[in-house]
Symmetry: C2
């Protein structure tokens, strides 16, 4: 039997990679999730969810990595955040209009659970601590976007790129050396600049010895200097 199918048969109770949110559910509630979820594997580059579509399910990323971005004007995009395993994707559409307000694309092969929205909402209503924790996570995401708004509009390119790289370090990999999952295009979308400008800023960083890029790996060789660039904008 293929691994693809095998994973989709595994129940939530045995799942090592469910969102920490679901730890707050009772056994019965977790069974409810189990019966109302769909598990799907995605290849790198595939679109997991498209902005504007009806939110029939909320998502939980079990393994892999994805980019979550808003499709803006004239084909340009703004990456809001990178989604890493065990994290949960809902967004304001849950409460507002039952729509997805951003597109999510797999950066590497990823496995995702789709949980029925109505079932999810019932859980929010029936389990208070689950709801509290969910709203806490949601609010943290909102604050991240507030921060992004500030630094994207008030810093200039080197500061924005430094922030993007430090974000990957601090929030995603927690290591100075990590795989280059993002193309220059993606880095540009993450730091609100043109693709060519992203290339140039990265080259400057390399020349000054702040980073090293080789074989699909990126290394922050002078983290302190990057933090300083981030600070002075």
């Amino acid at each position: 039997m293929s691994e693809y199918f095998d994973k989709s048969l595994r129940s939530c109770h045995d799942c090592q990679c469910m969102s920490s949110l679901f730890c707050l559910l009772t056994n019965e509630e977790l069974q409810l999730v189990d019966r109302n979820k769909i598990h799907v594997n995605f290849r790198a580059g595939e679109t997991i969810k498209k902005q504007g579509t009806f939110m029939s399910h909320v998502l939980s990323v079990n393994s892999g990595l994805a980019k979550l971005y808003i499709e803006g004007l004239e084909g340009r995009s703004a990456i809001l955040r990178i989604v890493k395993p065990t994290s949960f994707i809902g967004g304001p559409g849950i409460y507002f209009d039952q729509r997805h307000h951003y597109t999510i694309t797999a950066l590497v092969d990823s496995s995702v659970c789709f949980i029925d929205l109505q079932v999810f909402k019932e859980l929010l209503k029936s389990n208070r601590s689950f709801e509290d924790e969910f709203l806490r996570d949601f609010s943290r995401d909102v604050l991240t976007v507030y921060n992004r708004l500030i630094y994207l509009t008030q810093k200039q390119m080197p500061g924005r790129m430094a922030d993007a790289l430090l974000y990957l370090h601090d929030e995603i990999f927690q290591q100075l050396k990590f795989p280059m999952i993002l193309s220059r295009f993606d880095l540009a979308d993450l730091s609100a600049m043109s693709r060519e400008s992203a290339v140039k800023v990265l080259r400057d960083f390399q020349k000054e010895g702040l980073i090293r890029i080789s074989d699909h790996e990126l290394e922050l060789t002078d983290e302190d200097a990057l933090r300083k660039i981030s600070r002075i904008g």
Copy 2:
């Protein structure tokens, strides 16, 4: 007796200007709000709430107008929205860290109710439709910030300024001619540009007959053209 004191004695039940949210409360719940609120009047220019402070209360704006902004880098600010009467101010701090994540300043003389945060949270828990409506409002605000992120980073100055003016028309005054409550500084903070640039863009708009400014009033004389400028960025 001064009007100041008179207003603070009036109970929520008689209040013509409470947030529509509170219509969902029962009489008993409204009494609870009444007993746990403080009413304060502010003069134009006064700070109603300062970013970073402990969120002991949530706010409800009864009359007047205020600007809600994030204090960013080097004294610069980003106005998130203009707060008009009958609207409610909470923000992600309610669920995340019990802090205010933006500063609110009165643009004109304003009257504001401060409602105890713990009492407010109890109401969210005890009254389901109240919570639903609150979360819906919250989510709408979040979406507005997402939109702002996109247009502030992807449009250039004329488009951003047109958006700012149309925002005032669409969301705040609903009239083509309205009082100029915002200084050029404020308009700059609302459209993410320098104060001098704001002046120049507005002058260009005036020269082209898109707007007229006189005696603290601003008139959108060519709304269609402004919408076009907004669209093409």
